[in-house]
């Protein structure tokens, strides 16, 4: 009997650990183009205490630990590059608290976006959280860990800016809390305690998030989506600035894609508007469509495509079927809004060079302080040549992001290398010191953010 397997069974129970080929196969794969690497064990813990014991065991045995949430980063961030324990956290799926007065929710690390959305709709319809465009299986904790953004990014910024507190299992097994919860108060604020922002954006290399307090926001009774289109990509930044100036939109997304062909080359906007009454909605619609975008409509430069009540959240997984191939991956970036036209043109060139229908999207973050711009490349999982093409396009796009003065969002290993090549040497050295101090045995998600 494998002693590590037996020790894991002792911690989580036999049904929640596997070293069988079927689980090792499934947990070796990311959904994107990253090559698979098999873990030695797949484990699904149910508590912080179990995770502590697993991490202590991993330190004793010098075995890697690779935490996994919804597994939807698509950038290979939870691929066990050096084997070890694939730690699937989705059994930790309790919503622990919703505080209406201080407007936050405390959730375990496996709680999915869809689960929290549905819970709030049923129990606290006047509150909502910023839900990303990922499928609803994406987890709250995974999303903040990669600095995700959601459908309230325009007014409130990154989801990682909405964190009020964290519980972390450190790489050496201790449990730490951050934010007001760490002094025994409620989980209502991260400030003004000393900033120990060591856990977001590190791809699970500095610890395992086990609980998150996430801010909730007022949810108006009517939420809907308006659609607008322009042909000239140069107009997109100024439209974004004008829309954000109204302070009347929840989400502003511009996108362009090759499918369907009649829409190729057009820049579409989806603009989320919320109101508590028809009167408020009418007022906001007038400000947005007439006063702000009216000039484009009247000149013929833009067109209003209609407004639909109800949030139809994007089903991005449909992109995977464009080549009837079950696969897509994208490069996300954080860019200045005024780079949209160049991002679009250069991204389209990369797609066409690799014979992939182009898809680009820019989501306004924090009243246009930045945008998340993504370039998506579909591939056919059954055709290795298209996987290779997509991988090449992704790497070229990583290079493009830095060339255009942006930062890569949740970079995979290739993008991490590019970023670290450009990082300020002192910053890089600090990262190395932090990593050595927190994870002396280098067990946490090895391969990611490794400073040589």
């Amino acid at each position: 009997m494998d002693p590590i397997y037996q020790a894991l069974v002792d911690i989580v129970g036999q049904e929640h650990v596997s070293n069988q080929p079927e689980e090792l196969f499934i947990y070796s794969y990311d959904l994107g183009t990253t090559e698979p690497h098999r873990p030695d064990y797949a484990v699904t813990p149910r508590s912080t205490e179990e995770i502590q014991e697993i991490v202590k065991l991993a330190n004793r045995e010098k075995v890697p630990v690779v935490p996994l949430g919804g597994g939807l980063s698509l950038a290979g961030l939870a691929v066990p590059f050096r084997g070890g324990i694939a730690l699937d956290l989705k059994r930790m799926d309790s919503i622990l608290e919703v505080n209406e007065k201080a407007r936050y929710a405390v959730v375990e690390c496996g709680v999915s976006q869809g689960q929290l959305t549905s819970y709030l709709e049923r129990n606290y319809p006047h509150l909502t959280h910023s839900e990303p465009g990922a499928p609803p299986t994406a987890t709250i904790a995974g999303n903040v860990a990669i600095h995700g953004q959601g459908d309230l990014a325009q007014p409130y910024g990154f989801n990682s800016d909405m964190v009020n507190g964290l519980e972390i299992v450190l790489p050496t097994g201790e449990v730490c809390k951050f934010g007001s919860c760490s002094i025994g108060s409620g989980w209502f604020t991260q400030h003004p305690l000393p900033d120990v922002g060591l856990f977001l954006g590190w791809s699970g290399t500095t610890g395992i998030i086990t609980k998150v307090s996430i801010r909730l926001f007022p949810s108006k009774k009517i939420r809907g989506v308006g659609q607008f289109v322009v042909e000239d990509e140069e107009l997109v930044p100024e439209i974004m600035y004008k829309l954000t100036h109204t302070q009347m939109t929840e989400d502003i997304v511009a996108f362009s894609q090759a499918v369907p062909p009649f829409a190729s080359g057009l820049q579409h906007f989806t603009i989320n508007i919320a109101a508590d009454s028809e009167k408020e909605l009418e007022f906001k619609q007038e400000i947005i469509w007439d006063d702000t975008l009216g000039e484009y409509i009247r000149s013929g430069a833009g067109g209003f495509l209609g407004f639909r009540s109800g949030l139809q959240r994007p089903q991005v997984s449909k992109t995977s079927d464009w080549r009837k191939g079950g696969g897509f991956e994208y490069v996300g970036s954080i860019m200045p809004v005024d780079t949209y036209p160049e991002c679009y043109r250069r991204g389209r060139e990369i797609s066409e060079r690799h014979d992939i229908p182009y898809t680009v999207l820019g989501r306004c973050v924090g009243t246009a302080h930045a945008m998340m711009f993504s370039w998506t490349y579909a591939f056919n999982r059954a055709d290795p040549e298209t996987v290779r093409q997509a991988r090449e396009a992704l790497h070229e796009t990583d290079d493009l992001v830095l060339e255009l003065g942006g930062t890569i969002w949740k970079p995979g290993l290739y993008g991490q290398k590019l970023v670290m090549e450009r990082l300020d040497p002192n910053t890089l050295n600090l990262m190395k010191k932090i990593k050595q101090m927190l994870d002396p045995n280098g067990i946490m998600n090895p391969g990611n953010w490794e400073v040589s």
Binding site: P21, E22, F25, T44, Q115, T137, K318, S320, K324
Partner: protein, 393 residues
């Protein structure tokens, strides 16, 4: 067989594993795939099973008992088909059944599935009980053999052999008698409907059962069939026409709803309880009949009807489909779908969990015992509730 020869070889790679298939319609829980709910390993999710099937057919992984258990833990509940946003969703379950068929052809299936199929081959029921005992459920009921009456009352294997199933079979018979419905049964001449056989991937045996049943029904001049089980209803309504067996098939709740509506069945005796209803997959998601059972319950005086959070096409399967009421690959844990489901029923404050399927009845009743909820929740088939409202002793 290789992937190239697999019937769905050009489709199976198209699953992205986005995970919509894990949810009910309102995203309230990622546990609406019964196998995933039970094990919470990605291998047991719908996408996991499809990826494993492809890897197996491509030779990336070997067949194993564990692989067979993973595939056979699929209850064919159709939650994945309903929730998948992609255009190939209509083939998801067919892919799973085709994979099981491949295992059947190779003789590499879980031992309980093998036993299930052998029993049906030998005795016409999954329990392996003698064909000569199939009619014991009707002893003393006065129910007649089918000889040209308006309806053939098809009871099915669970209704014929399972103790609890037999009670509902008897009671439904009495209700139909009380309503003056012209019907008869096949008794020992009744054979398995084959619905689960098909879902277990034994296509040849299913074809044999379907052909024999169709020939028997046609030989007797059957035109209308009312079934106790949604599983029988599904096979006879949707599959038998492919064997030239076109009948007017009703699930019993559809017939009872009509009888109550037109005054043919008096339920004024009432039934005083707070009742919630569990949608059986083969009546609900497979055949989109959500209203008839609810209409019956709402028509009975004294019934205070409440919905569970997951209902209609978002209902959680009891875990008994795909032969799992017998294979029991999903049992033995508080995460078993049936146990999750009775806890959900309890949360409504209902004291009666109504079902319309003998498989669900046995699965959920066992779950109530396992959860220690006997003092809070009783599982009753709608035929039993109607029986009480009709003052049938």
């Amino acid at each position: 067989m290789t992937l190239t020869n697999f019937r769905y070889g050009d489709v199976i790679h198209r699953c992205f594993r986005c995970g919509y298939c894990k949810f009910p319609i309102n995203w309230m829980d990622v546990n609406n795939c019964p196998a995933y709910a039970r094990f919470r390993m990605e291998t047991y999710s719908c996408g996991g099973r499809l990826w494993l099937t492809r890897a197996w057919l491509e030779g990336e992984i070997e067949w194993s008992d564990h692989l067979a258990d993973i595939l056979y833990s699929c209850t064919a509940c159709k939650n994945c088909e309903v929730k998948c946003p992609l255009s190939f969703n209509i083939d998801i379950l067919n892919m799973m059944i085709a994979a099981k068929s491949e295992m059947v052809e190779r003789g590499e299936i879980p031992s309980a599935a093998k036993e299930f199929l052998e029993n049906i081959q030998r005795q016409g029921n999954p329990y392996g009980t003698s064909r000569e005992k199939r009619d014991e459920w009707m002893e003393g009921t006065g129910i007649e053999a089918y000889q040209g009456q308006e309806y053939l009352y098809y009871v099915g294997c669970v209704g014929s052999y399972d103790t609890r199933g037999q009670e509902t079979a008897r009671l439904l018979g009495k209700v139909l008698q009380k309503a003056g419905v012209s019907f008869g049964v096949l008794g020992n001449d009744e054979n398995c409907d084959g619905n689960e056989v098909r879902n277990l991937g034994e296509e040849t045996l299913f074809e044999m059962l379907a052909e024999d049943n169709v020939a028997q029904f046609q030989g007797l001049g059957v035109q209308k069939i009312v079934t106790l089980s949604p599983h029988s209803y599904n096979a006879m309504k949707n599959d038998y026409p492919g064997f030239n067996g076109v009948f007017d098939v009703l699930h019993y709740t559809q017939l009872l709803q009509e009888l109550i509506r037109n005054g043919g069945l008096d339920v004024s005796g009432g039934y005083n309880a707070k009742v919630t209803y569990h949608d059986p997959c083969f009546l609900g998601r497979w055949n989109e009949e959500y209203d008839a059972p609810r209409a019956i319950l709402r028509a009975i005086p004294g019934v205070q009807f409440v919905e569970m959070a997951r209902n209609r096409n978002g209902a959680l399967c009891c875990g008994g489909g795909g032969g799992n009421f017998y294979l029991d690959l999903l049992g033995g844990s508080e995460d078993s779908p049936a146990r999750r489901r009775v806890r959900e029923a309890c949360e409504t404050g209902a004291n009666v969990l109504a079902v319309a399927c003998p498989n669900c009845l046995t699965m959920l009743e066992d779950a109530v015992k396992a959860e220690g909820l006997e003092n809070k929740l009783t599982v009753r088939d709608i035929s039993e509730i109607v029986g009480e409202a009709c003052v049938i002793k």
